[in-house]
Amino acid sequence: MYGLTMFWDYRVILWHGLLINLLVFVLSSCLGLVVGMLACIGRLSHVRPLRAAAAFYIEVIRSAPELVLLFWIYSVVPVLLSEIAGSRLTFNPILSATLALGLVSSGYFAETFRAGIHAVPAGHVEAAHALGMSTPTILRRIVLPQAIRLMLPELMSQNIGLLKTTTLVSVITVPDIMYQINLIVQQEMRPLPLYTGTAAAFFLLILGLTSLVGRAGTRSREA
């Protein structure tokens, strides 16, 4: 029926492709959260050079197109490392994709963390200081619990954005779902049903996730 049965015929490789997307998503999200948190800490630090370096890193990484970073890490970084190491290195495409998307998202995550921490009213911190609490305790007990709740919806939607971005990784030969779809299109010569079906499937997946996050966001604001 309109060629949509092809999705069933190729279900196994499509499923494997989707798993690769999820793998890249999970790995790069973790990397992005860790690097983003480090960058945020640097950005808020009292040490001036550290603060400047973190600000510069965030600014640059947020200005780099995803695709440029993907190609740069996949093709340039191994060459540079080979020169340092003195022997020829290559990067696995999945590793490159994880690094690139992890760095891209670290820039966004860092800004979200910072905004969340800034959104905690200064008066709450002053009140804790007035009670004699130490700065780490204030951070752990007063600032972070509030900040995390404030930034959770934004983090969720950024993660959904990251999941959308994982569809780019086929350009550096990661065998993800788009890679498989493109192969099937070449084999079957039927772009209309294949691309339309893929667009519809992703639309429903992302829309579902977005509305889930939206509902969770409303609930956390009401709480």
Partner: protein
């Protein structure tokens, strides 16, 4: 160092052309997306019956990965409609499709940010609906959303790198092609990355500046 100089001199032409293609596609996509987005935003108010259709359109644009939209427009639309015939057209159509959904929402937020009282004051003076749109609502809304518009333009430039995949000769395409010719990705890829980062950083600085200006103007 010699490597770099050689790259810059020998390949300045193609890279320059590539940047030109990147920017033309982005500007084209932005203008179309802004027009469609504004049209949807205004029509939605006047045609309540069509609201579900507009909502579905916006949801589709925003919730589908741009790479799929690009391939869908370039190959599936072509298969069905025989259009767009040129990859250049497919490129800006796909980018505009994605952004029109985001911009429709941006415009809506902009209109909502104009206080009803400002419209009532104009009505009370006998100013016509059309003049109110043109002179009171649009200018205020544009001031408010100027930074968001600029950010969407930046998003379009970033996404435009994808069009190299459907063989549009943009800056990214030239970088990949020259990498193949030189057999060495380091200078070309790094140089192109620097160009993109510089262009986008300049635009976001401009966007921040705009936001400060508007904030000073509209705060009350």
């Amino acid at each position: 160092m010699g490597f770099w100089t050689r790259t810059l001199l020998a390949d300045a032409g193609p890279l320059w052309n590539g940047l030109y293609v990147t920017l033309s596609i982005s500007v084209m996509a932005f203008v179309v997306a802004a027009s469609v987005g504004l049209g949807i935003c205004i029509l939605r108010g006047y045609l309540p019956a069509l609201r579900p259709i507009f909502a579905a359109y916006i949801a589709f644009c925003r919730n589908t990965p741009i790479f799929i939209q690009l391939l869908w427009v370039a190959y599936a639309w072509y298969d069905l409609l025989g259009w767009p015939k040129e990859v250049f057209t497919a490129a800006w159509v796909a980018l505009a499709l994605q952004s029109s959904g985001y911009l429709a929402e941006t415009f809506r937020a902009g209109i909502d940010s104009v206080p009803l009282g400002h419209v009532e004051a104009a009505l009370a003076l006998g100013i016509s609906r059309l003049s109110i749109w043109r002179r009171i609502i649009l200018p205020q809304m544009l001031l408010t959303i100027a930074p968001s518009l600029m950010n969407q333009f930046i998003v379009i430039i970033k996404c435009s790198t994808l069009v190299s995949v459907i063989a549009v000769p943009d800056l990214m395409f030239q970088a990949l092609r020259l990498t193949g010719i030189w057999g060495d990705p380091v200078p070309i890829m790094s140089f192109v990355a620097v160009i993109f980062i510089a262009v986008i950083m300049a635009l976001s600085a401009l966007s921040k500046h705009l936001a400060d200006l508007t904030h000073a103007r509209l705060q009350s």
